[in-house]
Subunit: 428 residues, 2 copies
């Protein structure tokens, strides 16, 4: 743990020093923001404020290739530079914002006054399935005695997902139409089983040439940072379309990500050993094995607020509190697996961790799993099996470890808009 | 059929007038090329030559937004303009290259002297499964009596595939490592079941806003053009990783596309009605139904040349000759389905048609299907179950219809390089 993590370190931005804030000076996540009438550009979250990196460069308070890349309208170039550049930038930002440095209020914007954008141009998005309880709970419907996919213990199971429909937190989701089975017939109708999946977003650093794997020994260096991801899922559409090629339109409706990228430098105090494999599990394959502490001590939460709750001033209700630390496969193992066939990962590519369900009740990280214990009962007295129009889903998370100042991730939120009328005449 | 298709139309580029040439003046496919020491830019294939669109603009022989977009290092902007722009450009190119117009040899480069590049920056790639015989042959291993996926007759089954590993014809494929089952154990080794899949590449025009489907009535306008696509597949890796999320590393090794984009304007004479559904099939869903002639009269061929054949001067051996016209779902239906959940397709996005297998012997469009009748016997006396190191796979195709000058697609080719040694120490 270097000086940028020191628990006593405080910022001249007072809100950053409030205990329990998501964005103390020990965090310094990067994102892309705009103010009214200005173009999107890079910023760093500090307390309730955003430091304008382009303004800091113009004022001579920052310099160098990493800061210049961090000021751009996307962070792809910064991510192409890799972790050393991110570490150097972090040290400069920490010095600039630390208590004792000259306060520079002109470089700040209140977070409440800015619009946050996608932090990168997402070129490719792959989604994993790395929680054993998630797979077991949902797999039991298919095969009671053998609920896990055959490859589960051998590799982090994943599929290519859709890059074009990734959107930043706050973008509403239009309930999609799709085909599914209802009362024995196949219908084309608005989904009746709209779900969220609470996941971690993993942002890729650097690029490997097609045909050249990134071995597990170097795979941690390919992770630039992390955030929150809602892999919105239409379960009825998914069930019908999935065999044998996997999920398609059930997932490409939209994927929401939180706008702040928490760097792996900020995550250093929160890394932990992977949980040991259970007695009966096969050993981890050698090309995916690492003794690095690649697990992350993050508690992730999903909350729901219905329109009636909002109208009554009832706060979002936490329906899930899940431990990312218990995931069966690490983000580094996902990178090593993904590139093991030579597939090239590009700077700013996005990996989804898969639904972060824990093994205990209350740790089910999607409605399909929660529903196995019955519909959710909300503080308004309403119940939910799946999401209804107007419902808002809010993800938050917190990394905590002994001796470290906890950090947060901001929010990943989205509301459900009613389905549109089917747009047009159907005969071409 | 407009004047640009007239069978009597000839070009001042003599090689374009050779009967049976892939690139007569009735074709005029677009691509991106470079000459030694120069930057990639747009061109049009005419006979054995490439017309340099940037040079034609500079010489005042072409003008306008479409021609300017077609001169860029990728065709994405031209594709964003849609089919009307492509039609206008086609008319100008046809007039410029027609017999009787002033010959402009300074604007031409021999195709043999240029390097072809990817025609677009591929942002998203989705791969379909639209041949009933392909699904039936390979599905019988899973379920003898019910080999088709449950959704097959209701929608064109598809999965999101990998955009970053799409490469132009001629790029060699490095045999990938992966995990698969061998003699009851899971091993990590170079694939032992490397296959090709003969597919059509479908290039998307224009963009629909996320949440706004493109109805079937407008879906044909979203197809800019077509080419050939080899969806290289590692069958052993695929079999192990596929349940339940679909193919992943078995497909993202590499995908090859032919460099020339045959526009839908060039395809006009070769459009035909979709084959009628069989008596027992459910009807086509209304939102995917069209009476437009959206099928395409294309015969597609896959050939193999082993190193021994090449050394002995034996030509590539055609192992498949498949009728694209028989595909169960049209490209327009793929677009309508893909956007039916509101998913946004971007200009230059790539759709793969899926393996174009016909129902008759000799029309199996991948080795996994061909192998059901036994190993292939090559003219050299060699046999093949799957591809071996050094083997070259060459796709060609031809659109033909009564009264129209046939057109071709050029080649989509790739050779197999031996697997690399596993790169590095495995402990992180």
């Amino acid at each position: 743990m270097d000086a940028t993590h020191a628990p006593g370190l405080r910022s001249w931005v007072e809100s950053a020093n409030v205990p329990g804030h998501d964005f103390p000076i020990q965090n310094l996540p990067l994102g892309v923001f705009s103010t009214p009438g200005s173009r999107p550009r890079g910023g760093v979250a500090i307390g309730d404020m955003v430091l304008d990196i382009a303004a800091a460069l113009a004022a001579g308070r920052l310099s160098g290739a990493a800061a210049e890349a961090a000021a751009e309208p996307t962070l792809n170039r910064l991510m192409s530079y890799g972790q050393d550049a991110a570490a150097e930038l972090r040290a400069r930002l920490s010095a600039l914002l630390a208590e004792g440095a000259e306060p520079l209020p002109d470089l700040l914007h209140p977070q409440s006054a800015v619009t946050m954008h996608l932090p990168v141009e997402v070129r490719n998005f792959s989604d994993f399935m790395a929680s054993r309880p998630h797979c077991e709970r949902l797999g039991r419907a298919r095969n009671r005695d053998n609920p896990l996919p055959p490859a589960f213990h051998h590799l982090p199971v994943a599929y290519h997902s859709r890059a074009s429909s990734v959107r930043p937190s706050g973008t509403p989701l239009r309930r999609p139409w799709g085909q599914f089975q209802r009362d024995g017939a196949v219908v084309f109708a608005p989904t009746e089983a709209l779900d969220f999946e609470l996941e971690l977003a993993i942002w890729i650093a650097e690029e490997n040439v097609l045909g050249e794997p990134t071995p597990i020994s170097a795979a941690d260096r390919r992770i630039f940072g992390i955030g929150l991801l809602n892999d919105w899922s239409a379960r009825d559409i998914q069930r019908f379309e999935m065999p044998p090629l996997g999920p398609f339109l059930s997932k490409s409706v939209m994927t929401s990500v939180s706008p702040w990228v928490v760097t792996m430098q900020a995550m250093a105090p929160f890394m932990a050993p992977l949980p040991p494999r259970a007695a009966g599990d096969p050993p981890c394959p050698a090309h995916l094995h690492s003794s690095r502490p690649d697990a992350m001590r993050i508690t992730m939460r999903a909350a729901i607020q219905t329109p009636r709750m909002a109208a009554a001033g009832i706060a979002p209700h936490v329906v899930t509190e899940a431990p990312f630390e218990e995931m069966y496969w690490s983000a580094a193992q996902m990178v090593a697996h993904h590139t093991s066939n030579g597939c090239n990962l590009l700077p700013g590519d996005l990996l989804g961790s898969g639904t972060v369900s824990g093994s205990r009740p209350g740790q089910e990280a999607c409605l399909a799993e929660l529903l196995l214990r019955g519909p959710i009962i909300l503080p308004s007295g309403e119940t939910r099996r799946f999401l209804e129009d107007g419902d808002c889903v809010i993800f938050t998370a917190r990394a905590e470890a002994p001796g470290a100042v906890p950090i947060g991730f901001g929010e990943c939120r989205g509301s459900v808009l009613p389905a549109a009328a089917w747009p047009v005449s159907e005969e071409g």
